[in-house]
């Protein structure tokens, strides 16, 4: 299955997913329900409202003092012996890799799971430079072998069933056609271990950046990020500028709330807290550590007086797991790196509003995402915010614009309203309703209610209500 490459294709891509790959909805539905059940269980053991208030406030504090904390983080990292780079765009971020690959004669690279490196298209860039790059998270490895992008922030291969994995590993690694997950994982471990030991370069993202110690914090369960950042001679961490928090102590709270929201664990089984390159007296670790602070549209988001709150996101995926729309298709239909509710509210700033359409509309505004967000991002309000911007920019869907214009006209002219409502009451919904835009889709699976015989205004006039 080839994933679309732009959000504009969302409608066609979601139809195609549901029609041509019905197994995707089963796999995604089952995985997201499991993730969500684990989150609920984990949140029942704490006082989640107090945790969420704290997390929201630390992030908002950091974001409203972002210049200060970025400068502090840069100073600390530099003192620790790391090299700090600033990248306004994906091209500038990739240029850092070009320089390193040339200077250190890099032939092979191993990568830990990172959404930012997906956003920047790091892998195709390295391949163009002649570098063999290997995704080492098991889920990322699966989709790299298949040539697909991740379909979920936390579980990149959740759209694949176990049988999909069996077929793939049989073909690529020679495992038995009916091998159990243990045997499949063992085969992947062996293949990837050799790549870890040989790699010249390790690449990671960064979940958090503590300003006071210059610490890049990374969360995982497999150990592949620890290996990617420990074994190769050079480590490059790509970190979004919004990831900075004031103190290493603050990271203690975020490691816990992120893990509980993402997978329901008290903490990821492996956490890396990285300060810089190997020091005198240490027996191993990278000789060279680079931290690339990436903007790539984040300052656009920061400048938006409503949408800046989306920068608090810790990429736990809880809003994807609960979203009734995401659950139908998984992430590929959204056409870019970040899918689901969070993707729909950061796309307009990171890609541009026109390029992001119609993602702000890929939601029923049910509000479940806001209920689960560990940093209290007002996701439904921001979806509406971008819809308003879309209307202002003339980008709203034609049917919606036409329907609202018609309603406005009717609402401003009482006679028209009366005629219109009478007409609606006598419309043969059950016969012709399915042919209508929007309502037709709703009626595919539902019986429309019987309209009352009398208009409310007539009943009111007669003193019946």
């Amino acid at each position: 299955m080839t994933a679309p490459t732009r959000p504009n294709d969302y409608r066609a891509a979601s139809v195609a997913t549901l029609r041509d790959h019905p197994g995707v909805r089963d796999s995604v539905g089952s995985a997201t329900r499991t993730f969500d059940a684990h989150r609920r269980q984990a949140f029942s053991q704490i006082e989640p409202e107090a945790w969420r208030d704290w997390a929201r406030d630390v992030k908002s504090h950091a974001l409203t003092h972002l210049d200060r904390y970025l400068e502090e983080a840069e100073k600390r990292l530099t003192a620790n012996g790391a090299r700090v780079h600033w990248a306004e765009s994906a091209d500038e971020a990739l240029a850092v890799l070009t320089e390193i690959v040339g200077r250190r004669s890099v032939r092979t690279a191993v990568k830990g799971k990172s959404m930012l490196t997906e956003e920047l298209h790091v892998n195709p860039h390295l391949e163009r430079l002649g570098v063999h790059v290997r995704e080492t998270d098991l889920g990322e490895y699966i989709i790299q072998l298949l040539g697909e992008p991740p379909s979920h922030i936390v579980g990149p291969a959740i759209h694949k069933s176990i049988d999909d994995c069996r077929r793939l590993f049989h073909r690529e690694l020679g495992t038995a056609p009916d091998a159990e997950p243990d045997a499949l994982a063992a085969a992947a471990r062996e293949a990837l271990r050799a790549e870890f030991l040989a790699a010249d370069l390790g690449i990671s993202g960064g979940n958090f950046l503590a300003a006071d110690t210059g610490t890049v914090a990374l969360i995982e369960n497999e150990g592949n990020i620890r290996l990617s950042t420990s074994l190769p001679r050079v480590h490059v961490a790509f970190v979004g500028i919004e990831k900075v928090v004031p103190r290493l102590e603050d990271v203690s709270g975020f490691l816990q709330i992120t893990a509980r929201a993402a997978t329901g664990q008290p903490i990821g089984n492996f956490v890396s807290l990285l300060q810089g390159p190997r020091r005198g007296g240490e027996v191993d670790g990278p000789e060279e550590v680079h931290v690339v602070l990436v903007d790539n549209g984040r300052t656009e988001l920061l400048a938006d007086d409503a949408a800046w709150e989306a920068l608090r996101c810790v990429r736990c995926g809880a809003c994807l797991n609960i979203c009734p729309v995401y659950r139908q298709t998984g992430g590929h239909a959204y056409g870019w790196t970040y899918s689901g509710p969070i993707g729909a509210i950061i796309a307009p700033a990171l890609l541009g509003l026109e390029e992001a359409m119609p993602l702000p509309y890929a939601s029923s505004l049910c509000g479940a995402c806001a209920d689960v967000c560990p940093v209290r991002i007002p996701i439904p309000e921001l979806l509406v915010h971008w819809r308003e911007k879309a209307v202002e920019a003339g980008l709203a869907p034609l049917t919606e614009t036409a329907a609202l214009k018609a309603f406005t006209l009717a609402a401003e002219h009482p006679e028209l309203y009366r005629t219109g409502s009478a007409l609606l009451r006598w419309t043969p919904w059950k016969l012709g309703g399915r042919a209508l835009p929007v309502l037709g889709g709703w009626m595919q699976e539902r019986e429309p209610p019987e309209p009352s015989a009398r208009a409310f205004r007539d009943a009111w006039k007669d003193g019946l209500v």
Binding site: D57, A157, L227, L255, G276
Partner: protein, 209 residues
């Protein structure tokens, strides 16, 4: 103007017109009170519960002498071993040595542990390869170094940070294949935390006095 200056200028322009928000203070790990009649578990007990729930194993020994005996027994079923740089001589297994990527057993010394999250605090000075490449990982930690909260543990390590700290809270695991949990995907699939009760604090691995 550099990319750095342009980014910082845009940041300042964006936040300059916005109200600043205060830092809310320390993360307190707010939790509902334990059921009536039950006490909050002590940090060592909290660590044991969570580490085991995450798929790890926990052993407790009274002192260094018992730790040595425990290791002799445990290591007897392995062919080769590697040990971290800060592991004292007495706690190195009496097995043929092998590099971390070949050894069957790895032994490390944790700097601390955390009750709240069930984590071992691994210091890069002990050697990262021995902590990550072995299929079975034994980690010694002094009970006196078990912190109640992760916040307190990070506050403690902050004063003396190596290039990397690893928090290990169970075995390497993944559910990426069909949402079925498998262990030992990249790092150790079996991890045993050995809590040493009797040693004096501040001097990990020292012989009992």
């Amino acid at each position: 103007m550099s990319a750095r200056e342009r980014i910082l200028d845009r940041v300042r322009a964006a936040i300059g017109r916005r109200d600043t928000i205060d830092h809310p203070g320390d993360f307190e790990g707010w939790r509902p009170p334990p059921p009536a009649g039950e006490a909050e578990p002590a940090p060592v007990e909290a660590f044991r519960r969570l580490f085991e729930a995450a798929g790890g194993e926990v052993a407790r020994v009274a002192d260094d002498r018992e730790a040595v005996a425990w290791l002799a027994e445990f290591a007897s079923s392995f062919a080769t071993a590697t040990a971290g740089a800060t592991v004292p001589e007495s706690l190195r297994p009496a097995l043929p040595g092998a590099p971390p990527d070949e050894a069957a057993l790895g032994v490390s010394m944790a700097r601390a542990a955390v009750g709240e999250t069930g984590s071992l605090v691994m210091d890069a000075r002990d050697g990262r390869r021995a902590q990550l490449l072995v299929p079975t990982h034994v980690v010694f930690v002094q009970e006196a170094h078990v912190f109640a909260t992760l916040r307190d543990a990070l506050r403690d390590v902050r004063a003396d940070l190596p290039s990397a700290i690893g928090l290990h809270s169970g075995p390497s695991k993944s559910a990426d294949i069909g949402q079925i949990m498998v262990k030992g995907v990249h790092g150790p699939g079996r991890v045993v935390a050995v809590l040493i009760a009797g040693s004096p604090p501040g001097n990990p691995g020292s012989p009992p006095r």
